[in-house]
Subunit: 148 residues, 2 copies
DNA sequence: ACGCTATAGTTGATCACGCAAGCAAGTGTA
DNA sequence: TACACTTGCTTGCGTGATCAACTATAGCGT
């Protein structure tokens, strides 16, 4: 029970801090950032919205709104899928990549700083392994393309 | 970095599940539950709203609204502080204790079930220790009374 | 006694998200 | 072809939370 309480508090507090940093310095929420990050890593910089939702642990509607915002700022665009007309890709733009890069530099630095400051190499591995056992911790992506 | 991602994903997924369970079966959000829990443990079942806010990692306004809800359902009451007229205690009612007890039975069972299912005794200790090093993970309460 | 600053709490505006419902497009089956 | 079912996405609405602005009280230092 105590571990859970610690996880909860630590996560809330730390996320809050990172979120604020990201928002103040780059005008991105954590989810904005994560969305851009995943898109940038995806093939051709695009993903189906469903897959993005699953990756970000959001619902489909959450993603719609998230992308509305990013789209309005020109950081992502829409693209149709030739083989399935239901799907609307989210595609990261050049502008989006720039913003991501800028934010990434400082954000990743902060995160790794926090962890490396608090834990040793071995402890970090151990922590990752333990946390990885929790349900939903899997990093796996799923099918990211609409082609068969 | 990977540890952080895991923590984030695991926390989000697991919290979501617990939250839904608590809400459906007892009509309490996680914060409702935590608020009642902390009040029940506090001296005389009462706390200053500021202290409650700090405990729950909410802002003052968040607590105001949280307690508005609990108050409307008769689970907490207000009480004045004799020595400082700015403070308004939140006091848990008998009804509140009953609801807490009911919810606690199932919630605590679920949480410990998850952890004990996933980790051994020793691993649990280790996990709690590691997570405890993260900023904000401290469980300490702070001054819970308005008297000097 | 006076103002200055800090603290406790509330309120209004706004935001991010989930849920439920709906539409449009695929898929399976008869 | 016709029908039922599933899947991808969007929209309306409710909720939990924040921030900023405000009131009221407390506690200085001069």
């Amino acid at each position: 029970m105590s571990a859970w309480v610690r996880l909860l508090r630590a996560h809330a507090a730390t996320t809050r801090a990172f979120n604020a940093e990201l928002l103040n310095e780059h005008g991105l929420t954590i989810n904005d950032f994560e969305a851009l990050l995943r898109l940038s890593r995806a093939e051709e910089g695009r993903m189906r919205r469903v897959d993005l939702a699953e990756n970000l642990l959001l619902t489909a509607s959450g993603v719609t709104r998230l992308l509305d915002g990013l789209e309005a700022h020109g950081l992502v665009e829409r693209a149709a899928c030739s083989s399935d007309r239901r799907v609307v890709y989210a595609v990261i733009t050049e502008e989006g990549r720039k913003r991501l890069q800028a934010a990434s530099d400082s954000h990743v630095a902060s995160v790794t700083a926090l962890f490396e400051q608090q834990f040793g190499e071995e402890e970090l591995d151990r922590l990752a392994e333990l946390l990885g056992r929790l349900p939903g911790a899997d990093e796996s992506a799923g099918s990211e393309d609409c082609s068969p």
